[in-house]
Amino acid sequence: MASVVLSEAEKLYIVHGVQEDLRVDGRGCEDYRCVEVETDVVSNTSGSARVKLGHTDILVGVKAEMGTPKLEKPDEGYLEFFVDCSANATPEFEGRGGEELGTEIANTLYRVFSSESSVDLKSLCINPREHCWVVYVDVLLLECGGNLFDAISIAVKAALFNTRIPKVRVLEDEEGSKEIELSDDPYDCIRLNVVDVPCIVTLSKIGYRHVVDATLQEEACSLASLLISVTSKGALTSMKKVGKGSLDPESIFEMMETGKRVGKSLHIALQKILDEEESLGTSRQKVGFLG
C-alpha cells in the first residue's frame, strides 16, 4: 500500500488530535471526506462508476457476458472481480508492484459478496445448467490517497446500480436446439437490485480511539485496522483485520458498533446521490475525466 514517512513528532501530534476528536483537517473521528460519485463514465461497459474520496480516485467498469453456470450452483449467475493498481497511483505500483495489493482487494471483494443475500444471483440465470450471465467487475485504482477499500466498495455499488443487462429470451426449436434471442430495443434491459449490496467501512485504530476514513498520514500512525462490510440495514456480512498491531476484544466490539452506524449513514447518502443522478436523466452534464 502506498505510504508516507512521518517524523515521530508528527505522529504524536496526529495521535493526540484523534484523542481529542479533532483530526488534522478538522474532521471528527466519524466523518468522511467529501465524496464525488459519477456513474456511466465509460461508454462501452454495461455499467461504470467513478468515485473520488479526497485524493483517492477509483474507476469501476462492469461488463455482463454469457457463460456457463458453476457446477455447484446451476441456476445462478456469478460475479468476477479484478483489481488493477495502476502505476498512475503511485510509483510503487509500477510493473508487478501493485499485484499483491490488487489480489488482496479482489479477495476481500469476493468475501464481501460471498453472502447469498448481497446480489440476487438467480436473476442472472438464463437457462439452468446451460446459460447464465457472468458479471465481470473491473476496478482501476487511479490515485491512492488513503482509505482504498471504502472508496472501492462505494464505486462497486454505484457501478452495479448503473449496470444494464440486456433481456434475452431462449427459444427452443423442434429439434431441441436452443437459440438465444436478444430484444431489438437497446433500452430493454434488466437492472440489478443493489439494495442489499454491502459497503466496506475501514476503522483504523490510532492511539486509544479509532477513526473512519483515514488519510495516508493517519494510516501511517495506525498499527491495526478493522475492515467490516455493512449492508444498508446495518447487518454485518464480513470482517477482516489488517495491520501488524493487535486489537483487544473490547475495542473490536466498539469498532463494530461504530462501523454499523457509519455504514448505515453511508448507504443512505449513496442511495440518495444515485437516485438524484438517475432523476436528472439525459439532461445530466457528464463531467468525466477532462472536466
Partner: protein
C-alpha cells in the same frame, strides 16, 4: 453523529482573471515560440532553436529588460542560494544526511553544516559521525537554508543558525513551489495563534507558537507535550485555508493566509474543504488583497 456528504462532480468553471496589472499574461506550453527576436537573453525555462526562442515548460513568460524566462506553474523545486526550505530526512550516510525537498535530486545536509549541541565550535570527530542518528533520523523534518547548489542541480543545505533545525509537532502541507511568494522572511508568527514556515520548496510547516524563545535549543530537544485543543483548531483551520488557496491557485504569503483565515472564521473547520465554501472564502480573500493594493 457521522457526517457523510456525497455529491455529483461539477465541471470547474474558469475564474475571471483579477484586474490586469500591466496587461494580459503571455501563457505558453512546451514547444511554443516566445519570440523570433534574437536580441533577448534566454533565462530559465527557454531554449534557442533555429534563431527562435522556444519555451521548454508550461507557464507564463516573464520579461525583465532583455532577459526572457518562463515561470512554470507546477514544477519541482530549483534551489537558489539563500532560500529557506523545509525537508524530510530520507537517508543517514557517512558525514551527511540526504534530505527530500521536492526537487529533482535529493538535497544534501553535511555534518559540518549543522550546529553541535551546546553551540560548540570544533572539528567533527568520529564520535560525532556515530551520533548522527541520535540527532536526525529517517523521517525527521528540518528547516534549513540553501548554502550552495552543485553543478548537477543538487542543493546543499545548512542549519547554522538557531532558528533552523529539527521541527517538532505540527502539520506539513505540500504545495507547488511556484505558489510560495519570495519574501524577506519566511518564518511567520501569525496573530491568530500559530506559526508558519513557508518553505521555498513548497513544503509549508504549521506549528503551535512556542511559549518562550529557547536560546540554546537549536532544534535538539523536541517538545513532546500534547498541544492544547485551541491551538489545534487554529492549526487545522490554517491548514484547510492553505489547501483552499492552493486549489484556487493563489500565491501564498503571510497576508493572504491571514485574510483567508479571517474569511473562514464563520464556517466550521471541516466545511472549508467543501468546493462551494472554498470558492467563497478565496473570492473574499482575493477581494481584500486587491483592496490592499489599490
Amino acid at each position: 453523529m457521522a457526517e457523510i456528504t456525497m455529491r455529483l462532480p461539477v465541471a470547474p468553471k474558469a475564474v475571471a482573471p483579477s484586474a490586469p496589472r500591466g496587461g494580459e499574461k503571455h501563457l505558453v506550453a512546451p514547444g511554443d515560440t516566445i519570440t523570433t527576436d534574437t536580441g533577448y537573453m534566454r533565462g530559465h525555462g527557454t531554449y534557442v532553436d533555429e534563431e527562435k526562442l522556444i519555451a521548454s515548460v508550461a507557464g507564463a513568460v516573464e520579461r525583465v529588460n532583455k532577459l526572457v524566462c518562463v515561470k512554470a506553474l507546477k514544477t519541482r523545486y530549483n534551489g537558489e542560494v539563500g532560500d529557506i526550505v523545509v525537508g524530510r530526512i530520507t537517508e543517514v550516510q557517512q558525514k551527511r544526511w540526504k534530505v527530500e525537498t521536492n526537487s529533482r535530486l535529493d538535497s544534501v545536509l553535511l555534518l559540518s553544516s549543522v550546529n553541535l549541541p551546546g553551540g560548540e565550535l570544533r572539528r567533527r570527530s568520529a564520535e560525532d559521525e556515530l551520533a548522527m542518528r541520535d540527532y536526525l533520523q529517517e523521517g525527521d523534518l528540518i528547516s534549513a537554508e540553501v548554502q550552495s547548489v552543485f553543478s548537477d542541480g543538487a542543493v546543499s543545505l545548512h542549519t547554522r543558525s538557531l532558528k533552523y533545525g529539527k521541527l517538532g509537532q505540527g502539520v506539513l502541507v505540500q504545495v507547488s513551489p511556484s505558489l510560495v511568494k519570495r519574501q524577506k522572511t519566511h518564518f511567520h508568527d501569525l496573530p491568530c495563534g500559530a506559526s508558519v514556515i513557508l518553505g521555498n520548496n513548497g513544503f509549508i510547516w504549521i506549528y503551535p507558537t512556542p511559549e518562550q524563545k529557547d536560546e540554546e535549543a537549536g532544534g535538539f530537544t523536541t517538545n513532546l507535550e500534547p498541544v492544547p485543543l485551541s491551538d489545534r483548531e487554529v492549526i487545522s483551520r490554517l491548514r484547510n485555508c492553505i489547501v483552499a488557496l492552493v486549489t484556487q491557485k493563489l500565491m501564498l504569503f503571510d497576508t493572504s493566509i491571514l485574510y483567508c483565515y479571517e474569511a473562514s472564521l464563520p464556517h466550521q473547520i471541516k466545511d472549508i474543504l467543501k468546493p462551494e465554501v472554498m470558492e467563497e472564502i478565496v473570492l473574499e480573500t482575493r477581494q481584500k488583497l486587491l483592496d490592499l493594493e489599490g
